[in-house]
């Protein structure tokens, strides 16, 4: 058994991160960007609708060689002109790796149980239940960095593995594919 990894001594530096915030309400958008800036992120983009967020993602991430990729999207759920669900599905449907694998944090006022289901099924990496707070935001960003999940592609879904814990399944065997038939791809630097 591997020894547990030691926690790091120094805090993360988020200054080179580029984060896109999508929120149609200017007051909340300003609150989010100011908060994220205080957490150390120096490059923050703001979109006031899902449609504008798509344009920005295309602008920054369509070119695979660009050094200015957006690293994370933080999106509100309810927005006119393309909501968070539509944005996330658009991201996951992209043919471009720099877009389809983009980490997305979904913010919503739904109850934590509802939003976890919504986020899981839409392909978001993390969900944050409103009202917002700095601790909640920091926790979600940290979770994306510390605990990335592999992406799963099935005929009906593409997104982060919806299982947060890998435990041995004890129920009836209903898998259509045997584990050794599942294709696994390991990205290399």
């Amino acid at each position: 058994m591997n020894a547990p990894k030691q926690k790091q001594k120094d805090p993360y530096s988020l200054k080179s991160f580029r984060v896109l915030v999508a929120d149609d309400y200017p007051f909340m958008a300003d609150l989010m960007t100011s908060m994220i800036r205080e957490l150390g992120v120096e490059h923050i983009l703001l979109a006031n609708s899902g449609a504008e967020a798509k344009e920005m993602v295309m602008m920054f991430n369509a070119d695979p060689g660009s050094p200015n990729h957006i690293d994370m999207v933080i999106t509100d759920w309810l927005m006119p002109g393309g909501d968070g669900d539509e944005l996330i599905r658009w991201i996951r449907d992209s043919k471009k790796d720099a877009i389809k694998f983009l980490p997305v944090v979904l913010c919503s006022a739904y109850t934590s149980e509802e939003i976890v289901t919504i986020a899981r099924d839409s392909g978001a990496n993390e969900a944050m239940v409103k009202p917002i707070s700095a601790k909640k935001m920091a926790d979600r960003i940290l979770h994306v960095i510390n605990h990335p999940r592999p992406f799963i592609k099935t005929p009906n879904f593409f997104g982060p593995d919806r299982r947060r814990r890998l435990e041995k399944y004890k129920g009836e065997e209903r898998r259509v594919m045997k584990p050794d038939e599942v294709k696994e791809t390991h990205e290399r630097l």
Binding site: K5, Y12, F17, S34, A134, T154, M177, K183
Partner: protein, 168 residues
């Protein structure tokens, strides 16, 4: 991605954790953290902006009233536009109010947003419910009522509940 013909095919992509590298850690390092002082400063940003709450909520309530006026127009497109705006501005009220723990305003923002999903613009009875929401929200704003538990809050909630029960 492969173009396999197997319609049940499952693929798993293990990605390099580039965010961890970008944050200054090594791929095999343990969990990192965000500086606690940064988190406190970020929370202070939220807290400081509470002074803007009254002006901001007044602004959104005015927008709600404009949306409501559009819903009373004779033009179908204007009505539908007003309905959509009502939904989103009610959501803004809820977001703003709950951020600063203005529970009663948050309650009515949430209630109006939920109701606006069900509004039948042909049914004038539904309009009474919208009007009831707007009336109590302006009272909550003018009387600066924060909590849900006081006598006035209970009375206002009962007004809206009665309107919903009678007209929906």
């Amino acid at each position: 991605m492969s173009d396999s013909k197997n319609e049940n095919e499952v693929e798993i992509y293990h990605r390099v954790n580039k965010l961890k590298l970008k944050a200054g850690a090594g791929l095999h390092d343990g969990d990192g953290f965000i500086d606690l002082h940064s988190i406190k400063r970020a929370q202070a940003v939220i807290d400081r902006k509470e002074t803007l709450y009254m002006n901001e909520v007044e602004d959104v309530l005015k927008k709600l009233r404009v949306a409501w006026e559009k819903m009373q127009s004779d033009d179908e497109e204007t009505i539908m536009h007003g309905k959509e705006e009502l939904y989103h501005y009610a959501n803004h009220v809820k977001d703003l109010a709950t951020t600063y723990n203005y529970q009663l305003m948050g309650h009515f923002g949430s209630s109006l947003r939920q109701f606006s999903e069900k509004i039948d613009v042909e049914n004038k009875m539904h309009f009474v419910i919208v009007q009831a929401h707007l009336d109590v929200m302006f009272i909550v704003y003018k009387e600066h009522i924060k909590d849900e538990g006081g006598d006035k809050a209970v009375e206002l909630k009962s007004i809206v509940a009665a309107a919903i029960k009678k007209y929906f």
